[in-house]
């Protein structure tokens, strides 16, 4: 018995945890394994486990999932047909991400992924978080015509430290978007809209997708099954990550240290410390990053993918000197991009830094201890609704009843 949705005995009545009035009076038993957005909503979003990777938004074939403007989380915006695809691609429910990473390794990774300490020079180095490697690499690839653009992040104008997805199509764009933003952007779910607004002049654009490892998991999983939303993604770059933050909580945490978020120009997290720096380069705060635990996305605790194993290229600062970026080039696509952009970077091949391995190990152990289900890279990719419930029910990560006010469903055709 393995797989995503094997048949079981159909049940009459209610499956989810909330009391859905639609199910008060059913005269038809539901198909075994049927999954609706509502199930995802209760198991992930309402349960406060969503990591805002936007895989579900991209996965939905009827574009039924939108992004809640306020909370930056997925929300149903039109009829859900119960096709289960959002569940299937959600790394916090139907997608066994560790299996997906394993398959990605088997199917796409180079025999010997290469590790570099690298940095850009000039503007890119100044704009970037660490070595400015991502900025320089993408700018180069766009200028030589390898890419038409890149989905990156920039700070929103109206809200300090809150990121939004941004389609960069030039060096200037990338310089403006350099540096890390410690909130999620749901970029994977915005590709179509950004392309529509952006007008790249190509029907078949080739883009880089930059994001946290979880977003890259979703993107590469969609690509593995040849789903359209992944079509424009020609290169994936993961930003090594132990956690991302919930914007509102991040701000109130900063405020509790008497730091005005609006004054913060950059945040930097490295070696267990969080540093906030203002426009003039003055340090506003340096604190143990653990003090910000409560501001982290709760779903990040279940993530063991610090390095972003599904990406073509992963970048971080751990294990490199200040001003350098540690980059892991993992696939042929990544290798080709890296080579093509070599002139823009100063690169030194290095061994996998011990500090990186240590952090990755710690991250995995944390995930395994918190994850209510088993962490099993050999099990099947899909996790059924029932299996999820079995593992999560009774824990503090169990599904929460959905708030009916958030569901706007309507039938359009009949």
């Amino acid at each position: 018995m393995s797989g995503t949705h094997e048949p079981g005995v159909p049940q009459r009545g209610v499956k989810g945890v909330g009391s859905d009035p639609r199910e008060q009076d059913r005269d038809v038993a539901e198909a075994p394994g049927k999954i609706w957005f509502r199930d995802l909503d209760e198991a992930v979003i309402e349960a406060d486990r969503c990591i805002q990777c936007a895989s579900c938004v991209a996965a939905c074939p009827s574009d039924s999932i939108g992004i809640d403007e306020d909370e930056g989380r997925p929300t149903l915006v039109k009829m859900c047909t119960g096709c289960s695809r959002c569940w299937d691609f959600c790394p916090r429910s139907g997608l066994r991400y560790e299996r997906h990473l394993e398959l990605a390794r088997e199917e796409r990774a180079l025999e010997e992924p290469a590790t570099y300490a690298a940095r850009a020079d000039g503007e890119a180095a100044a704009a970037g978080q660490d070595g400015g490697v991502v900025t320089a690499l993408l700018a180069e690839l766009i200028e030589v015509g390898e890419l038409d653009g890149a989905i990156v992040a920039r700070e929103r104008e109206d809200e300090p430290l809150r990121g939004e997805a941004f389609l960069a199509t030039s060096r200037e764009d990338l310089l403006a978007a350099g540096g890390s933003i410690y909130t999620q952007t749901m970029g994977l779910g915005r590709i179509e809209a950004l392309l529509a607004e952006g007008d790249l002049g190509s029907d078949d654009p080739e883009l880089a997708l930059v994001g946290t490892p979880c977003m890259i998991q979703g993107a590469t999983a969609l690509d593995r099954y040849d789903h359209d939303p992944a079509d424009p993604i020609a290169l994936t770059v993961a930003l090594m990550c132990t956690r991302s933050f919930e914007h509102g909580r991040l701000l109130s945490r900063l405020e509790s240290f008497d730091v005005d978020p609006a004054a913060v120009e950059t945040l930097d997290i490295g070696e267990g410390r969080l540093r906030a720096v203002d426009e003039t380069g003055e340090t506003l705060l340096e604190a143990d990053v653990d003090a910000f635990d409560a501001a982290g996305l709760r779903g990040c605790d279940e993530c063991a993918d610090f390095v972003g194993d599904a990406a073509d290229i992963s970048v971080g600062n751990v294990g490199s000197d200040d001003g350098y970026t540690t980059a892991i080039v993992r696939t042929e696509t990544g290798e080709a991009a890296w080579t093509r952009a070599a002139t823009a970077l100063e690169t030194t091949a290095i061994d996998r830094p011990t500090a990186l391995e240590t952090l990755a190990d710690w991250n995995r152990r944390r995930a395994e201890s918190i994850l209510p289900r088993e962490f099993d890279p050999e099990a099947s990719v899909g996790i059924t609704y029932d299996a999820h419930r079995e593992a999560y029910d009774g824990t503090d990560r169990e599904p929460e009843p959905l708030n009916p006010a958030r569901v706007h469903q309507y039938e359009e055709w009949c």
């Binding site: 949705h5 048949p7 009035p21 639609r22 005269d27 047909t81 096709c83 789903h227």
Partner: protein, 801 residues
Amino acid sequence: MSTALDIVSPSWLEAHRDAESVVVVDVREERDYEELGHLPGAVNVPADRFRDPSSVVDGKLPTADDFAALLSAAGIERDDTVVAYGDDGGALAARFLLTALVYGHEGRLSLLDGGLEAWRDGEDGSLSTDRPSSDPTPYEAKLRADAPIADRETVEAAVEGDAVVVDTRTAAEYEQSRVPGAVHLDWEDLLEEGRLRNEATLEELLAEHGLTPDERIVLYCNTARRLSHTFVALRHLGYEDVSFYEGSLTDWVRAEAPEWDPVELQAQVRHYADNGGFEAMVDDLGEDVLGRLKLIGLYHQKQRGYFMLRTRSPGGILTAEQARTIGEVADEFARAPEEYGGPDQNPVFGDGYLDVTTRQDVQMHWIEIADVAEIWDRYDAVGLSTMQACGNSVRNVVGCPADGLDPAETVDIQPVVERVSQRFLGDRHYANLPRKFKVSVTGCHEDCARSSIQDLGLTPARKDGRDGFVARVGGGLSDGPRVASDIDLFVEPDRVDDLVAAMADLFADHGSYLDTAVNRLRFLVAEFGPEAFREELESYADFAFEEPDETLTTDYRGDHVGVHEQADGRSYAGLNVPTGRMGGDEFAALAALSDELGGGELRLTPNQNVLVPHLTDDGLERLLEDPLLERYSPDPGPFTRGIVTCTGREFCNYGIIETKNRAIRWARELDDWAEAAGIADDHEAIRIHMSGCSASCAQPQLGDFGLRGEVYRDDYDSGRAADLGLGGDLGNDEFIDWLVGKIPIDDVPGVVKATMLAYDADSEPGESFTEWTRRTSNADLREIVTDGPARDPPAIETEVR
């Protein structure tokens, strides 16, 4: 108003809760109160007693008597200080206090800041599971004359600038719809980590929204829950002039908004036909006009700028002239542009085709705004309409297609169908119900207009020698299928339209306009219960309700395919239109044949078929020889005869699988197979109903085989699939159960064959397919279904557990 309304901290409560006159009220569910524990000494008044949030009937204030009874039982006196708490951020506790305020409570009313959680984090923090004993009090509740309740007029005045209207819902909800001019202040913005923010921050926040203590303020949300919290917070901060709109947005939306007037809308759209077409229309009227166009029969296709046009035919009856017009319009305008395949857009049907639907409408695709004026002109000339074929209105009335033909007919339904149609056509008041409203009328004794899946289904009945109908209410298929309830109500033919109006009024009053997932009439019926619903309905009707002496339905008729004798000795030919799709030119040709050989009339059936009535023997003979009848046969193979599909992926935004072409292919293949396997003659029709997704457009719950589109995925592959159920039978009010999920789509014909062979081998003499599926256990059926297709390796999703 003198009663104090404020917010108190856990430490205040710690210090004061032992006072004689302080009562602590816990508004959580009874189970939580009992099992998880509550503040020591707190009484329990669960929120669902003073409001019912899951209810589709809106959460209005309880009656004064009910509320008094609750407080009396809880041992509360009118001048007690009441401190309320819950575990939801305070909204429900605030709602309780607000209710007490409105009903004239005299003591102080306080909300515990941070609710249960804050209490537990506090110094004492203890919980108890003991229920305090309290003697009932003589509590009296009376709506106070100066209760701070705003009605719609007040809000309208406020919108005009008389006061500030505040939307306390989330930004997303506010974006979606709101009272014009309302400012947005999410009730949770007043909180930080569950506690009220400090006063300075709050004052700043409120001032930013233009809310100062000297303003008049009116609050609303969806169900008057969230606004309660903001209300208490504002009063706590010393705002005096605050009121709340109890009907909330629900009530507001229901006001007859002019942009929902179908007549007006049609005139506007006509204008754009000659003035810039689609883009100009969207530029001027906004993208959201696309949603409203349904009201006049236009559905935006998934291909931008093109529409599906739905033409209504009440009771399915079309004159030859009308049918010819529809056919010609389809042939001329339902043509795909080059970029979508042009004349070869569809490998089976080519181009310029139309679809007959299960509601006896006709649909066609690729219509452009530039063409609609011309189409409507032609329609007007022959008395056709597209108005309210869609949208939240009284939909095309389904009628028994053999009306006036059937020798055993009881009531002539045509005048009834006409009257109901006319009464609601273009009526602005009834064009904007909470949801669609489906009515059917059957005149024969075989329920061929399918009363059990309508919001209101009428079948023949008799009372004191008078002919009429008996009503069934609250049936339907999509989200949460339900068989209609018989409410033992007799109605005379000329009262039917009054009954429909009464029901629409009831629907408008009680149905939720906001949560569209739960606002079909059947949820109301389920909630009231059939008897209470009947009573409520009677209060809306202008005639006294009677019970029928006898009902006349004896049987259930699946379809009208074949040649049948009429009461007047002539014949009608029921032609099978596989999946309901026909070339526009063919439809026009059939109209011409009916003019020439029959009575100049065509009828559409709820199985997506067409009847040609009033044929003389000679006419019949000539009709049967016409080449058109090779494809649209009165004697098709069993699968071709039984297949029903929706639009599917070809045009529908939601469709996961392509349906029509696939169905035609399957039906041919399966008919050939049935012939070869020697089972073709044992079955008149084998009904495969296939929907492109889980919406119920093809009525999969009624098929021998019900299918709905899905996707499947295993470790290496994914693809299109279908959920399968067996044995739907409307004649016995049986819907299918979904038996197996996610069968890869190409395996479905194999599954059908295996199932038919198993039925053939296993059934007892005379046992119908449905009976057999009901007798056979689901486990066995699943075995048959999943073992059928030979697959290597089997898709994981379909393995038997």
